[in-house]
């Protein structure tokens, strides 16, 4: 470190000066471009990179009145606390189970729906169906959960009443431990299945019609056409989206889970994101909750790069 600052008479040789001048000329030529760049650059610096540096409070015992520089450094204590906390396995469990529910129950839904829509030959009918099934995508999570409340509430919700009439049991869906996950998946299916068909439909629209004609000439029925032409044409879209989904296995959607969480279903509802909120913002344990968030973020990065690697291995183009 010391050496760099030492005076060295040979150092400012001719070439770097010329280079520096060139750089300066270029900079001054582009000065207005840098003016345009400035607001965005400041935004990323302050709201993206400052927090990245701020994750260091995970290694502190951060006290708001002492500030970042006054708080005591305690190494990996917060992480240790988190890993020996029984909450850790509960969170991991809840997060992964919800992801598995989503992968097995929600993920195939748009594919099936897109394949069915693709079989519709009447354009008007197809358009109408698409217009209707895209609607929920634009609703906020608050609306989706509100509608869920209206239907499933114990006092007079339509579904609750229906179930009571059919089975004789009054189920409180919204606070029930066993109904939490099914409701979450149901919401996701209702909100995103229609929208999820777009990418597949686009891939299906790109299939050369001649392939089908040739197949028909060769005597292929509809199943054979589906199996040998349609499915292979959306294979890479499916693989990419599946790998992306695996890469975000720890992301369950903060708003949805938060809104569906109540004091009675915390046992199954808590996931990493909402736990960070409850412990950090509500209870004010900034350092501990940052450590939890950092743990999740690091695993998330590993999963994304890992899944991208897998995508490339499987012959797809990957994300980056």
């Amino acid at each position: 470190m010391q050496k760099v600052q030492e005076y060295n008479p040979e150092w400012p040789s001719v070439r770097p000066v010329a280079k520096n001048k060139k750089v300066l000329a270029k900079l001054s030529k582009d000065k207005w471009l840098y003016v345009l760049l400035l607001p965005g650059a400041l935004y990323f610096l302050v709201f993206k990179y400052l927090p990245m540096w701020g994750v260091l409070i995970a290694f502190q015992n951060y006290q708001p009145f002492l500030g970042f520089f006054g708080s005591q450094w305690i190494g990996i204590g917060n992480f240790k606390d988190f890993f020996i906390n029984p909450d850790f396995f509960r969170l991991l469990n809840n997060t992964l189970i919800l992801s598995l529910y989503n992968i097995f129950l929600f993920f195939p839904a748009p594919i099936v729906l897109a394949l069915l829509l693709n079989e519709v030959r009447k354009t008007f009918y197809k358009r109408t169906v698409q217009t209707l099934i895209y609607v929920p995508h634009f609703m906020s999570m608050v609306i989706v959960v509100s509608i869920t409340y209206v239907f499933f509430t114990i006092d007079g919700g339509f579904v609750t009443q229906l179930v009571e009439q059919l089975t004789g049991h009054k189920i409180d869906f919204l606070t029930s431990l066993s109904w939490f996950r099914p409701l979450i998946v149901l919401q996701t299916i209702w909100k995103e299945t229609g929208w999820g068909t777009i990418l597949f439909l686009a891939a299906l629209a790109g299939v050369d019609a001649q392939l089908y004609e040739a197949a028909i000439v060769d005597g292929a029925g509809r199943w054979r056409q589906l199996w040998h032409i349609t499915l292979p044409s959306i294979r890479s879209t499916i693989v990419i989206l599946f790998i992306l989904r695996m890469g975000s296995a720890l992301d369950n959607g903060f708003e949805q889970i938060y809104l569906m969480t109540n004091s009675l279903n915390r046992q199954v509802a808590d996931v990493f994101d909402t736990y960070v909120y409850f412990v950090g913002i509500t209870q004010g344990s900034f350092s501990y909750s940052t450590a939890v968030g950092l743990f999740k973020a690091v695993i998330g990065v590993i999963l994304i790069f890992g899944s991208n690697y897998l995508a490339k291995k499987s012959g797809e183009s990957g994300l980056f």
Binding site: V135, V142, G221
Partner: protein
């Protein structure tokens, strides 16, 4: 194109029927909520399910608008949507344009930093502390500035600018236009359709945003509609409506229809722009799917 077999026809019949059922199931919850918000007390308790109320009653709407709580929240939502979208477009396009110029020094470094911020983020608490440190807590700007740029949108807009013919920029600079002049007079007018698409993306995001209000806004006078909706429907709080402001004979409508009416009010703006949303968003998804 398709063989017309016996099996094929039966399959088609079932397929059309199935898709009809799926579409109806998708929209029926909305229709039920709208119907319920206009229903009378007796009808809500007596009929289990209906899509058209026998007698139309506006009492739920009279009630929720009898105090200005709902109106104030709606205004907050409109404000953050309008101002927020303008800020988004300003920040996104300026940065996207300067990054679309391939000879800009430091461009690759900045692009890499932006992509990295999509993969790894400081997370909720450090971001909260930054917002708090800037004194933005309980300010409407807290719902606008921390999300001023979506890195994903930025990169798509940058790729779009890159596709524009270079000759336009060169000729403008030969004619003595500065880079800012080129940006305002040539680039922006050429990208109106793209800007409209991204304006919609951002506007829907702001209207539906719950997260930043939850984190940064404690003052109930500054709650946007989404938070008020949560308070009323999920927590049965957030005092809304006051019968004493209305006719003395006014009977307070049941909670269920009040909740439905608030849901309807928060949904209407989205439904009004839905035709444009559908068109632009489908296009936007396709743009995003093309790697740049």
């Amino acid at each position: 194109m398709r063989t017309n077999t016996w099996f094929g026809r039966i399959f088609d019949g079932f397929n059309y029927l199935f898709l009809a059922v799926v579409s109806i199931c998708t929209v029926i919850p909305f229709i039920y909520v709208v119907a319920g918000s206009f229903a009378t007390n007796t009808e809500l308790t007596q009929r289990a399910f209906f899509l058209i109320p026998k007698t139309i009653s506006f009492s739920a709407y009279q009630f929720i608008f009898s105090t200005d709580t709902l109106l104030r929240s709606a205004l907050v939502s409109v404000y953050i949507t309008v101002v927020g979208t303008i800020v988004n477009l300003l920040f996104t396009t300026t940065m996207a344009y300067s990054l679309s110029r391939k000879d800009l020094l430091g461009r690759n470094l900045i692009l890499n930093l932006i992509v990295f911020s999509m993969v790894f983020s400081g997370g909720m608490i450090p971001t909260f502390l930054v917002v708090k440190g800037l004194g933005l807590l309980d300010s409407l700007w807290a719902m606008i500035i921390p999300g001023a740029i979506s890195a994903f949108n930025l990169i798509i807009v940058k790729n779009f600018f890159q596709e524009l013919p270079k000759e336009l920029i060169e000729s403008a600079s030969l004619d003595g236009c500065t880079d800012i002049g080129t940006f305002c007079r040539i680039i922006l007018p050429l990208s109106k359709p793209v800007l409209a698409t991204f304006a919609l993306f951002y506007a829907v995001g702001h209207w539906n945003d719950f997260y930043s209000a939850l984190l940064y806004i404690n003052d109930s006078a500054k709650w946007p509609l989404q938070v008020l909706l949560q308070q009323i429907v999920m927590l049965s709080q957030g005092s809304i409506g006051d019968p004493s402001n209305l006719d003395p004979t006014f009977v307070k409508p049941p909670d269920q229809s009040i909740k439905m009416a608030v849901i309807v009010v928060s949904t209407v703006p989205i439904m009004l722009v839905y035709p444009w949303l559908q068109k632009h968003f489908v296009k936007g998804v396709m743009v995003g799917a093309v790697k740049g």
